[in-house]
Symmetry: C2
Subunit: 511 residues, 2 copies
Amino acid sequence: MNWLELKSKLQSQKGPGEPLYGVIVRQIQQWIDSGALPAGQKLPTNRELSQLLGLDRSTVARAYAELAQDGVIESHVGRGTHVKARRSAAQSVDLWSDRFSKASQTAFEVMSKQPPASRPAAEVISFSGGLPTEEFYPHEQFEAIVNELIQSGQSRAMFEYSPADGHAGLRQEVLSHLKEQGIIADDDELLIVSGSQQAIDLVTNVLVDPGDVVLLEDPSYFWAICNLKSRQARCIPIPVDQDGMRIDALQSALAAHRVKLIYLMPTFQNPTGASLSIERRTRILELAKQHNVAILEDNFVGDLRYDGEHVPALRALPGGREIVIHQGTFSKALCPGLRLGWLVAPKEVLSRLLLAKRVCDLSTNSMAQITLARYLSAGLYKGHLENVRAAYKKRRDVMLESLSKSFSREVSWSKPHGGLFIWLKLPSGLSARDLLSFAEAEGVSFSPGELFFLGSEGKEYMRLCFIQTPENVIQEGIKRLSAAYGRYVQTVAQASASAYGAARSRDQVLI
Amino acid sequence: MNWLELKSKLQSQKGPGEPLYGVIVRQIQQWIDSGALPAGQKLPTNRELSQLLGLDRSTVARAYAELAQDGVIESHVGRGTHVKARRSAAQSVDLWSDRFSKASQTAFEVMSKQPPASRPAAEVISFSGGLPTEEFYPHEQFEAIVNELIQSGQSRAMFEYSPADGHAGLRQEVLSHLKEQGIIADDDELLIVSGSQQAIDLVTNVLVDPGDVVLLEDPSYFWAICNLKSRQARCIPIPVDQDGMRIDALQSALAAHRVKLIYLMPTFQNPTGASLSIERRTRILELAKQHNVAILEDNFVGDLRYDGEHVPALRALPGGREIVIHQGTFSKALCPGLRLGWLVAPKEVLSRLLLAKRVCDLSTNSMAQITLARYLSAGLYKGHLENVRAAYKKRRDVMLESLSKSFSREVSWSKPHGGLFIWLKLPSGLSARDLLSFAEAEGVSFSPGELFFLGSEGKEYMRLCFIQTPENVIQEGIKRLSAAYGRYVQTVAQASASAYGAARSRDQVLI
């Protein structure tokens, strides 16, 4: 506590700003909070402090009155002014903690499943997360486009509002892009959004009331689960096998519940990498139609197939147009910083999504939309896709090969035909989260699979992203992972041996 | 209905796309929908159609099976395949209409208050809406910045993810900008958002549960009302006079309800243009603190003061830091297409807002953030503000002067010291919405005031935006408005005279 420090703080304040009495209030509050002014401590009189600070007495009087009203100081005639109580951190939190909405409380609970952020050391090889690598972003092409827009005097629109449903040029390009995949949509069936996550948010906004039943793959995309739970949806898990969502489980769930929405990623699912066959897709559509249930089809990596045959999106199949809301993004195949994606929906649904978009953020940033529209209309996306597909295919192959070399058959993993992820399963009884500590010590990280499950299962699963590191780094990373796994298994074996010994010596009857 | 057209459609389809049977299904559905294939109409047999289209019989069989399952055709052995029923438009809407969430239903109801979009004729002078004019956007400076970023090889970050809480450089600039207004915030008290509307959406996400009481100025910002109602908040109107929110009404509401949040625009309020005095601000803070209620302070045009003294934001006043969530934007003073704004909140609230941001759209577009950060750090904003303030002040003065010349004292209006709007009141009994039809016929438009009221009052108010049209256009627009008003008043007088006459002749007892 240093009154002269406060004086210089007051003197350095110039121009329109916080009133002087406010500066005093905050400083004294801070001293009380930090304990520099303990409870019971006498404060200078109004007269003393105003002299000390070179201020009018009314300013100090106002500051003291404010503090007294806050309940942190008290004045008595004859006894002067004293610090009454230290404002505890808990008290300050209390002011808010019972004010948060259910949406916020639930999101907070779901988030608490997230592992604490890994140490950001550069030497850690990251297979966690799922971002495309910067080295493949078409920086130079984007730069050339922006440059050309500026040179040709066409950049003005970049700083103006776009219509809420998106920039006209981009809309046209997205419709063409969709058409190439067999997705025929009219102009009033399309909405441009700020990335895939906003697509999910708008759909749940428009369709999901608290308590509504939503079916989703188990495991599924972490932020979709978070969004649905935050809307107080009743999330029913539908197990996934190597071919995606299981039809028998879906059928039972549809029979057992009045379902509002099915959320799924039919192609290269997050986190398992599994894809639904055309038969399963057709069957899911039939079941949804039969039960009159809407489908949200998240096609976040539809463009990233490395081998195998193209399978049409649910939206492209007969009957899909009426009950499927289809979403896609340029974040994974192109680059995430643009924050651009789209929603395709029956027009009566689309008009609601558009209204929700207005209510949430009015419209999407114009710069990114116009840049991307030019990029697409110049036909640059196809070449880019060929490049990244070739590169990511190699990376996938190298990771699969490295895994085969480093792990015995007790560990198994998926062999995806596209997307970003390999899904790995440890022998049952082991925990990927425990392994993660060993892995980080060896300099490699991944996403523990349990993050993606609705319940508490999935401890033995882990997700590896193979697109974000060059081949030699993948090889090194898998070597480290294998070493970490060896140390982890050894530790578990030792621990269980000594636990077994301890149990034996303590109580043989329990065995 | 033309089967050959369908054949050529099928032939033109190449590469991966919708399966052929799907194309047939959609075409037949469309013919049924349009009435081209009426109920009872016989369809070609499987054999006939497969020959006609040059397709395998299994493809046609699958299409017919799909249509039969849809219930639009039926097949009987011996009688062939017939159209069963025309799918009505109503039927298609029914599929969805009972699925929309309460959030969507409410937003839809609020939206239905919006007047149908005015005719977009270029000759209509628009005083409706509230956008800054393009002519003042710092296009050239933005272009120079983007150019420089590209030339100096620093544009890469523009296409990468920004952290969810915003680009570091922009965060720093916004903190400095706030500091100049006396708003002291730590780094963990700030969140960059995609414009003011998202700020409102995140705050209501984090704080408002269905049924929660929110107090807001009446009239208030249309999209804030829409957002709050969409979250099923119980919105209690606090009347506004020429000095902003009325303290007596606020006090009564706080005493009568358990209030979750007060939403207000203390400076140049939308739509009235009114500003709260420092005394009212202090009093509102005191009352909020006393009742343990959070405040959302929307400072959307804080930078647009044309005369009068700066009044500190609620957040800048003593005690404000603990209970005020403060939001601002660059959309009004700079340009709206950037979609950038900010939220300042106590850190325990900010961490929840940040989480809600992730759940809603992960992060904000990087291009706009980096461009704006450069613009601010180059110190260009101050000069821009001086220019637009001078220009908007002139426009305000011209509109006030034109109003004085054109309207007699029975019409009254506000004289705001800043912002975007003049708030006009017609003699009671008249309706601004009725006047709007006359005005549009004369070639001028405005926003009817009733849009901004929570209840059904406010029919005699109208909002004029003075910043978006040059002075001579303002003069012409007000002339037209005055002419429209004259015609409207005359029509009302004639109508009431004849209604009076009609009533007299019909039933004299009623008078």
